[in-house]
Symmetry: C2
């Protein structure tokens, strides 16, 4: 990972260089704050076109990154994320066009009211300002993140994993071409011009107040470091330790299909379920078919003592299983005494990401959804719906599990702030 | 100030004590998250009643605080803020009743939509969790802050200035009585049980993740320390360096009354104007009457060179004047070349709090309100309207100048978060 490796080059004064980046971003952000929807969409369309036209260049740069990565004996999964293909490049271009098609959040009047003294007050959506995005060696994030920030009227400072430095630089050049085509400042989307990992530490300080929020995109270690060191707000989620609770009033067939989908559709996504909780009242009837369905889908099961009493032969779960994000075909199973016990378990071991209840009892579902303090709570649906696209928000930059500002899928609307606009005709305060 | 003084007592293990406070707050917050409007309002009404009944006790404790403060030779303004009277106690009780009368923000559905697959998605307002309030020796803040946090379904950890320890403790006892009367957990509003200033540092660490946001209420030094040391999000504003810009298209009479009101109605509030910017095009006609109106109202004026060329005899302004929050009957005056120059000055020296333009040109006003990146921008109205009550939001805990989560007046709605509630009938993701 970019943050763990030794820098491949050293700039004479990276601090001065990053300060320049920060100031340029701030002044670009001011221009963007009054950019029209037409201007922003023109830039996005030109970015997509430029990415398509430059496919060969991007692939050539990517080949150089890949060669270096292979030489460095990096893991296969790492190489896969780093690899670009004509299809992946087309997907990047399409992704930018989809972002262009989203409604412009900036300028939307969120609320408006009149005061007895005649003052008219409006709460208006504004850009956040300058967003620092720190990600690993996934070149496509350069395009997604840059386009999302622009759509919301924000300037972006992108710092990608240094193993994708050439690929990301080539993609960034296309974003800049798009900005130029719309006569928007090139500094609206900057790519940190060095592999020096000191740049990350500098971004986390906020660059003299010129970065308003940091968005880390990547694995646990990256997000954890960012959350620990950042001196500016962070939109991040550490992990998705998500639960599916099967209540006594659940329909068994629905429970089976939801649990298998929540765990196995894709095991590597943050919305994947990691723990299955089953109401003791139905453990005798439900546990065996649920566990068999999971096993038939290729999932390994670890059970607590009570579940192993019902389904012998299941591998014993240990304490650490309840707080592990497997991101793999493994699930921990626990028998709980009703919804209250399920909520207690989730609040103790969960990560406030996404949790689901399966039940036909509306009041039990309401209690679960009210008391489980997670960004997303679902009733009779799979946790794998935890996704900005599935929510109809369009592209997302990630899913936030904090309670501040952005929570859940972070799309263009979540990348904005607001201000109060007050119009009068000479009012003074008595 | 509480943060600057030496501790008057030392607990054996304040760390352990504060950890207990944090855990108790978190569990109280969970109970509050499902407290009904009726329960919360019952508690608030009982708090107000208890404060009225306990007026004598509160005054007696306050007298002890005052005696100690006088002995410590604390300043008169400090003593005034510390002093309680029957009127101030009645105002506290009334304030709590006004908060009870506010609409309950929790549970409000902020948005709701259906997906093609039949999923019903709701964005629902939730409490933030546990709010740490750090304030100086103003006993009334104990009542305001505790009541506001409760109305929004949050647990509160209150740490008041140690010179008001007895007064605040007595007020806090009334809040607890109110919680009991409504059968809500007493730990929902905790008052840090020690004068030891180490408690503040511990709160800024978040107490093992048991404080979700810190709200500092007090002077610059307190807010600055909190912003610098806090490891959890902070709702704060450092200062209100607010501007009034008089445009070439302004009406002179309106300009005079707005400038005098913005500066002089109350000079000690954060919404007070500190700098007057006048369009060069009208400087010859407007500057003299504007400055005379201010001087007649008892305001001292410091002018830049261009304004002193028009109105000789004005004290020269120095560079530091443009970034000084006087909170006093002093104003800095500068001649600028139109709205763009005014915006540039505000962005360079302002504090993103509250800024106003006086003009009859709608397009100039729109540009000013779009490009001035402040929490509150006004057109033809006084900056002194920067107040939650004047906005119709009811009581506020302060005015935030950051762009994250809360901006502008921080009332009950701004003390909430949200979650996504997804309801299905067995949907799984393909």
């Amino acid at each position: 990972m970019s943050l763990a490796e030794a820098p491949m080059e050293r700039r004479s004064d990276i601090g001065a260089e990053m300060r320049v980046v920060g100031r340029a971003a701030r002044s670009a952000a001011r221009r963007l704050s009054r950019a029209t929807t037409v201007e922003k969409n023109k830039a996005l369309a030109a970015m997509a076109a430029s990415i398509r036209e430059s496919a060969d260049v991007i692939l050539a740069e990517n080949a150089l990154d890949l060669a270096a990565a292979r030489e460095a004996k990096l893991a296969g999964s790492f190489l896969d994320r780093l690899t670009l293909t004509p299809e992946r490049i087309e997907a990047m271009a399409k992704g930018i066009e989809e972002i262009a098609a989203l409604q412009d959040p900036v300028g939307a009047v969120l609320a408006a009211w009149d005061r007895p003294n005649g003052l008219h007050i409006e709460r208006v959506r504004t850009p956040l300002g300058v967003i620092g995005v720190i990600y690993e060696s996934r070149p496509n994030v350069t395009a997604d993140a840059g386009a999302l920030c622009l759509k919301a009227g924000n300037a972006a400072i992108l710092r990608g994993g240094s193993d994708s430095f050439r690929s990301s630089s080539a993609i960034h050049a296309c974003l800049v071409a798009g900005l130029k085509a719309a006569a928007l400042p090139e500094e609206a989307i900057q790519f940190v011009p060095t592999r020096d990992r000191a740049a990350v530490g500098l971004m986390l300080t906020g660059l003299e107040g010129n970065i308003d929020v940091i968005v880390p995109r990547g694995g646990k270690s990256l997000v954890a470091r960012v959350q620990m060191e950042a001196r500016v707000p962070v939109f991040a989620h550490l992990e998705g330790i998500n639960h599916v609770y099967i209540d006594r009033e659940a329909d068994l067939e629905m429970a089976k299909s939801i649990v298998v989908n929540a765990k196995m559709r894709r095991t590597g996504v943050c919305g994947a379920a990691e723990t299955l909780l089953v109401d003791a009242r139905v453990a005798d009837r439900f546990l065996k078919p649920l566990i068999e369905a999971l096993q038939q889908a290729g999932c390994r099961v670890r059970g607590d003592e009570r579940s192993r009493n019902v389904v012998p032969g299941v591998t014993p779960a240990v304490e650490s299983d309840w707080s592990t994000e497997y991101l793999d075909a493994i699930i921990a199973v626990k028998v709980v005494d009703g919804v209250k016990d399920a909520i207690d378990h989730i609040e103790r071991y969960g990560s406030h990401h996404t949790d689901a209840i399966v039940t036909n009892d509306k009041r039990t579902a309401q209690r679960f959804m009210a008391e489980v303090d997670s960004a997303i709570v679902l009733h009779n649906a799979s946790t794998q719906f935890a996704d900005g696209g599935e929510f109809g928000m369009g592209a997302e930059i990630g899913i936030a599990t904090g309670r501040m500002h952005a929570r859940g899928p972070v799309g263009v609307e979540q990348l904005t702030s607001f201000k109060y606009r007050v119009t009068g005709n000479g009012q003074i305060r008595p």
